[in-house]
Symmetry: C2
Subunit: 135 residues, 2 copies
């Protein structure tokens, strides 16, 4: 079983994150081993802090208006291996080890499994050298 | 000079994209050659369509309330090589060839150049095998 690696963010780093009018920040999740962008979801201040301190991704559901921890129902947990914030502080990036089948509730490994313009299903974008088969 | 590769999205694909109450969708930009997540910005229906049809990333500035095409002032253009939308249709992913110094107005290659918890500057996350030096 993967081991949690808590991230010791400093108060200064945490205060650099800017939340929108709903108190949320978009969080991009990227797979460490492949470079694939797996999903994007939202965090509030509490769930970002919990994500960093616990080493697992925890989000805020805008539709259900509740905290949800990735993998609690599916088993497809995400273990944080590095966390970044962008130049404006209004987006965060979590680099994770993805457990189980993948990140998407559809059963796909990445939520970005549909490609504009390509006929038929195309694999999600991976790192250099592992471009989708349809390409 | 890089060549534009327009993406022929179908009406069905375009209608799968869901815009928020402001008419915007978050657009993640990933570098094709490295797998690095370069930036996140917002598109409206017009700039998403322009991005796909022209093969260059075009965004909507929420602060300036205007269209902006990446690289028009900096020269750091982004050439679209593949475009995806996620399971919910509420986020898009552009895989690009980044021209010039990089994606960030700070001069960094990626906007995600600041890492939570790590002392000192850390490189942006790359593909597997090219983790930040601080790791």
């Amino acid at each position: 079983m993967p081991v949690a690696s808590p991230v010791a963010a400093t108060p200064q780093q945490l205060s650099s994150v800017k939340y929108n009018s709903e108190g949320l920040v978009p969080a991009i999740v990227q797979e460490k081993s492949t470079g694939q962008v797996l999903m994007m979801a939202w965090m509030n201040q509490d769930t970002l802090l919990e994500t960093l301190q616990s080493g697992r991704t925890v989000f805020w559901s805008r539709s259900r208006k509740e905290r949800w921890r990735k993998g609690d129902s599916s088993g497809d947990r995400q273990w944080v291996r590095a966390a970044y914030y962008d130049c404006d502080g209004d987006t965060v990036l979590l680099v994770v080890e993805q457990e189980g089948a993948g990140a998407c509730h559809t059963g796909n490994h990445s939520c970005f499994y549909r490609r504009f313009g390509a006929e038929g299903p195309a694999g999600p974008p991976g790192r250099a050298g592992s471009a989708p088969a349809a390409e």
